[in-house]
């Protein structure tokens, strides 16, 4: 214990003596870790956001599949499903997409049936009349619109339709409502020219969560052209998607880490004549190879641990305080309506463990053999310089 403390002291003295080189190394290292850490924190926060908020999504959504593609579903299917024992409610939903060429963004249009509901995250009112709509903050921002302004959209017949904005969703809910336009269901049907006998899909509410799988099978049995999707599957999908996304970006960032390790290896193998002389002196005055390797190990640990702490804290600030400005261009793609990240700073200690393992272990492993090569310098070296 005492011995390690003394060797730590010597290792620190050695690091400060080669200040410029080591600070540069530390910064590059910390930067690499911050990049990896940002990816991890961001995807983890998104995952937990999805897990938490979508926990109240419909227990099951039933789509109709025709020729392998998603197709409009007859409203009569809702009646059939509602009659299955265990189903509390089956609600046909109408929603669709609308591409706006001017802002080059895709909006999601949704029909609402119960305008009297009080939504805490909505400023203003839900649309009640056929020429009203409620929009997400992203749409309001991109057009510079406020409540009372009107939105002009081109309907399925190519005609301009004017919708007065009756409400805007708060920025707090942007992750869910950023690109959303809500309008009364009849208005939406008219806008998309939808037949009143069809819907986009059917949201099914089920009382007992254990019966979801059974009910999904029953739905498939009675209505073979449907595709039931359960809420737990949606949550699984989100888990996989963010694992995949972070894994993908990780795999790319790991290249940076490898490059860094090569740098570290190079730094560790290319020992200067001065350093060689120093090791010779240490050994001549009574250090053995193990002691020298111990200080080299400490040097590596000090560097990697400091870089890890700096990098991780920087990543946290980057993602949760600054809103991940360096990552959004990568995530965004060509989506114009990208929601601002006001993520809850949820981080799993497990993520920290993964990050630590991925960044510290390769560095220490890379410096093992060079450290040994330095450490076996013969003590006689000190006498012959």
């Amino acid at each position: 214990m005492n011995r390690q403390l003394k060797l730590l002291e010597y290792a620190l003295a050695g690091l400060t003596r080669r200040k410029g080189k080591n600070v540069a190394l530390l910064l590059v290292y910390a930067f690499t870790i911050a990049a990896l850490g940002s990816v991890l924190f961001l995807t983890d926060a998104l995952r937990s956001e999805a897990r938490q908020t979508l926990d109240h999504a419909p227990e099951m959504v039933v789509q109709r599949i025709s020729a392998g593609r998603h197709e409009l579903i007859p409203r009569s299917y809702a009646t059939t499903i509602a009659q299955l024992p265990g189903v509390r409610q089956a609600t046909p939903r109408v929603w669709g997409y609308y591409y706006d060429a001017l802002v080059r963004a895709n909006f999601t249009l949704m029909g609402v049936t119960e305008p009297e509901t009080q939504i805490k995250d909505l400023q203003g009112q839900l649309p009640a009349a056929d020429n009203e709509c409620a929009v997400g903050i992203g749409i309001a921002d991109i057009f510079g619109a406020t409540i009372g302004d009107s939105l002009v959209l081109v309907d399925a017949h190519g005609k301009n339709r004017v919708f007065a904005i009756s409400g805007i969703f708060s920025a707090h809910s942007a992750l869910l409502t950023h690109d959303l336009i809500l309008m009364p269901e009849p208005a939406l049907r008219a806008f998309f020219n939808l037949d009143p006998t069809v819907a986009t899909d059917i949201a099914v509410s089920i009382a007992n969560p254990r019966e979801i799988t059974t009910l999904a099978k029953k739905v498939r049995y009675h209505l073979p052209d449907t595709r039931p999707i359960s809420r737990s599957e949606i949550l699984h999908t989100y888990d996989s998607i963010f694992n995949w996304r972070s894994g993908m970006m990780f795999a790319v960032s790991v290249a940076a880490l490898i490059a860094f390790c090569i740098l570290a290896w190079d730094k560790a193998t290319g020992i200067s004549a001065d350093e060689k002389r120093e090791i010779g002196i240490l050994k001549a005055v009574g250090w053995n190879t193990g002691d020298v390797m111990a200080i080299k190990f400490w040097e590596g640990l000090i560097l990697s641990l400091s870089a890890f702490l700096i990098g991780t804290i920087a990543a946290w600030l980057h993602v949760f305080v600054l809103g991940a400005p360096a990552l959004t261009p990568i995530l965004k793609g060509w989506s114009v309506l990208f929601p601002p990240f006001s993520l809850q700073p949820v981080t799993d200690p497990y993520q920290i463990l993964v990050l630590a393992f991925l960044t510290i272990a390769p560095y220490l492993a890379c410096t093992l053999i060079p450290a040994w090569k330095t450490a076996v310098t013969a003590p006689e070296q000190a006498m012959r310089s």
Partner: protein, 336 residues
């Protein structure tokens, strides 16, 4: 294959450690072939230098094994929501048959690497290094084990197919698969207790006897007892200790203990059990080495340390395991 950062870390780390171990066993092989303790040639000096590299590679390997064991369990736990019907890490391990095997190999590797490091240190204390050959022969056995660990891990993770919405059939994949069990088959608590408490009592008696006497036979008995106690303790954790720790009558998962939700109580619990077992094995393993004159004094000195560390480890384990049984409101067995 799931492209998960934890999985990338585990596979990358294992690959790295296998590479380091291959390097180490290459060096070990040269030493086995060319070592000549009486020579003072430059070649012999170079070999002596290589022993330093090997021990430091193995130290790193041991450190890696400890961290990677924790990381493996944490990863398996972290990805369980990807599998329908998996309630905890057990579900992921059950998802394909290799999971448990990986865990077993990891455990073996931990013990092998730890024993190697400890005996290497013992050997380095002596001037004539009598354990040199057995040591490097053992090294040649550890490396394939690490390679096995890597390949098993790879086939485990690449064989994991998360249940996502992939095709038109929607949720029908969610049928409970043939290998998905959400709970481990556990021993009945009464049987487990009847095995657990006596074997622990024998362990304590033997350790205390070893502390008082130099008898080698006692140490061999301790060696066997510790191995038996280790497996019985693992069974006991699944069978009844976890129930008390979770305060739930049917939650047998031995891995949920490692979660934040249970205050990470599993870490000291398993650290105590593994440490207690490892150091309990040592006196029995070192006893036959007493006939090396250069080692026997060192063994005598270390023997007591080992016994005490083992005792402390086991006591930590036992204290954590017994605490909720004695002080928590939950009761599994009604008296009377």
């Amino acid at each position: 294959m799931i492209l998960h950062p934890g999985i990338l870390a585990l596979l990358g780390g294992s690959l790295l450690s296998v590479l380091l171990l291959i390097k180490a066993s290459g060096l070990g092989l040269t030493i086995l072939l060319r070592w000549d303790g009486t020579s003072s040639s430059e070649q012999q000096l170079a070999l002596e230098h290589k022993t330093w590299l090997i021990s430091s590679l193995l130290n790193a390997g041991l450190g890696f094994q400890i961290v990677s064991g924790v990381l493996f369990l944490a990863t398996v736990e972290a990805i369980h929501p990807l599998f329908v019907g998996a309630m905890c890490a057990t579900g992921t391990l059950n998802a394909n048959l290799v999971g448990w095997l990986v865990l077993l190999v990891k455990g073996l590797l931990f013990f092998a690497a730890a024993l190697w490091v400890i005996f290497n240190r013992l050997d380095q204390r002596s001037e004539d290094a009598p354990l040199l050959r057995p040591k490097y022969l053992a090294l040649l056995l550890i490396t394939p084990l690490a390679f096995l660990d890597l390949t098993l891990q790879y086939s485990f993770f690449s064989g994991l197919h998360p249940d996502i919405i992939t095709s038109c059939c929607g949720s029908l994949f969610s049928e409970q698969g043939q290998s998905v069990l959400s709970e481990l088959a556990a021993l009945p608590p009464v049987t487990a207790m009847a095995l657990f408490f006596p074997v622990i009592a024998i362990y304590y008696v033997l350790t205390l006897c070893c502390l008082r006497s130099q008898n080698a036979l006692l140490r061999y008995l301790l060696f066997i007892t510790v191995i038996v106690a280790f497996f019985i303790a693992l069974a006991a954790i699944i069978s009844f200790i976890s129930l008390y720790l979770y305060q739930m009558p049917s939650h047998h998962c031995p891995f949920d203990l490692l979660q934040a939700h249970y205050n990470y109580i599993g870490y000291p619990l398993y650290a105590g059990l593994f440490g207690g077992t490892l150091f309990g094995l040592l006196p029995g393993l070192a006893a036959p080495l007493q006939h090396h004159p250069s080692l026997s004094a060192h063994i005598d000195q270390l023997d007591r340390h080992w016994l005490w560390i083992s005792l402390i480890g086991m006591t930590v384990f036992l204290a954590i395991a017994l605490w909720p049984m004695l002080f928590a409101p939950f009761t599994l067995l009604r008296s009377g």
